[in-house]
Symmetry: C3
Subunit: 244 residues, 3 copies
């Protein structure tokens, strides 16, 4: 059983955060809310998402799993304005979601989840913690796209830095500790990442207050941010590229 | 002789309503206004349009027929803002329209109408009358495009319904009599239509107050709406698709 | 040495005015400001641009020349909002410009100027002077694109006229002397120009108060307008097409 009512925006956030990595995903539904773990087909990045019951206008559910086609759900959500309420129920007989937006009823078939396993999220002990405004990261990434296809994230006790180096041109976003909500590290850290993956993750964080990064040297980055006004949370893990 | 002055918006409405079905059309001009009947090349749909003298700031005309290339006229109208006055005269010597927009004079050649016959509009006795907001139909159509290429229009004495059924997914827009400006029928009616044609007709009705539909069972739909602030009127007829 | 601080809008104006004719350009920098002369690869049109020190928030420079890739500079300027300050310095060791926008540092390699010669700007004694609003020219050009690939500029003592003639359709923008800021000519002049070149030049003048044209009969047009709130100036020369 599932019956939820929620602002379209909240569902859009959930789908945007997930669809950057996978085309289909298995959502775990329980009485407390919804959660998801997924790894991208190239096994470079991972997403962990939770959204609590409190993010919904109404939420009643039994424990169950449903598989969703990201593109199809995105198309359906485009029928709703940001503030429109979407009413969601599960039609067990036909294995479909029934989505009501205004006077419109959209019955959407679900994806088979039997082949979908939940990835194990590795425990990582990363020495550096930094919180950056999403808008700063966005500008750094947009500038970097013209010069390289990868980007270094660097931090020491006084600065956080995003660096992209091409053959002749470079981009450098350098933020002083004083301008950052948070910067904690005992050592200088530096890791290199695929710009494409990192860019998609930062786009999903658009509109969130701050993006929290956990960094090491030649280690994955853990990126975290809140969604749904603090009633949901997204964690990405992105593997580093090792400089040759 | 023709000399008319009219807001660009009115002409845009006329061209939009006509160009959904035909690339070229023959307009009948008289002292009372302008009218047109046209059928699409596949003979699936028909449009009947009238626009009265009262829709114009100024209108003086003798009885005549002119053939217009829809795309060309659309391009010219893009040069004008919605509220700009377009001054239209007929240059008989060169068989052109002379269109003045501000300081700009655009002489536009006309299309030969000798091969264009006026279609006969069939008299249809359709048992159901319903008036729906254009915006509701638009949302229903947008949702339907993801699941099917045809759509059923259904009405009984209590509801009007738009239904699109795909292999696994469905769309259903169901409007109660209480929420509709008008719903009159003595029987349950249902007809199936090409989504593509129906969608274009509804787009042409965008901005009109209400779309009036006449329906039967496995019969054509007659769609009507006002344009030019009630000084013009559009009637479409769309043939049904018979369910196999 | 070069150290300048300037609103992004001013640099965008400079690049837009230049990039309509060339992909790369050599800028002359001196203590008084920046200037440029360039001719397009087909030798049909020429641009002369100056921007004075007063257009900058800060400007300190030694005499030097730098070669700039237009598309690359355009991309960098897209990272800044119109009112953002761009800080520009020259890194002589690496032959790069260092552009700072907010916390972002973009090091941009320069183009070799050794093969770029400054074109000689011909002295032309053109009998007609006319000043036209850029918006009027724009509308005339947009209308003309549907009927021809060239456009005639015509003036006599009472009117300025833009005329495009196709096989069946024509466009005519006719402006009375009374509606023009300036119109001076002792004779009727008429020259024909490539619509493509003329259109790009007028687009670069978008937002300038008035476009000053110097015309003759079957002679080049000289088009001039101010940029950067009067602290910069652009002059184009465009060769005529001779009617066959």
């Amino acid at each position: 059983m599932l019956h939820a009512r929620v602002k379209a925006d909240v569902l859009k956030n959930v789908i945007d955060a997930t669809s950057t990595l996978v085309d289909e995903a298995k959502f775990h539904i329980s009485a407390d809310g919804i959660s998801l773990k997924a790894v991208d087909p190239a096994h470079v990045a991972m997403v962990e998402l939770t959204i609590r019951k409190s993010a919904f206008e109404k939420f009643e559910a039994d424990k169950m799993e449903i598989g969703i086609d990201m593109d199809k759900f995105k198309e359906v959500l485009k029928l709703a304005a940001s503030d429109d309420i979407v009413d969601v129920t599960y039609d067990a007989d036909n294995h479909r979601l029934v989505l009501k937006i205004g006077n419109l009823v959209r019955r959407m078939s679900l994806v088979d989840t039997s082949g979908m396993t939940d990835p194990k999220v590795p425990k990582l002990d990363l020495p550096c913690q930094v919180t950056v405004a999403a808008s700063e990261l966005e500008r750094g990434i947009r500038a970097s796209e013209a010069v390289s296809d990868h980007v270094a994230l660097i931090a020491d006790k006084d600065h956080f830095e995003l660096l992209a180096e091409g053959d002749t041109d470079t981009v450098n976003l350098k933020l002083d500790k004083a301008t950052l909500p948070e910067l904690k590290t005992n050592e200088r850290v530096k890791s290199l990442f695929s710009l494409d993956y990192f860019s998609n993750m930062v786009k999903a964080a658009k509109g969130s207050e701050g993006v929290h990064l956990n960094l090491g040297s030649d280690y994955p980055v853990r990126m975290e941010f809140d969604i749904a006004g603090g009633n949901g949370h997204v964690t990405y893990l992105l593997a580093p590229r090792i400089e040759s």
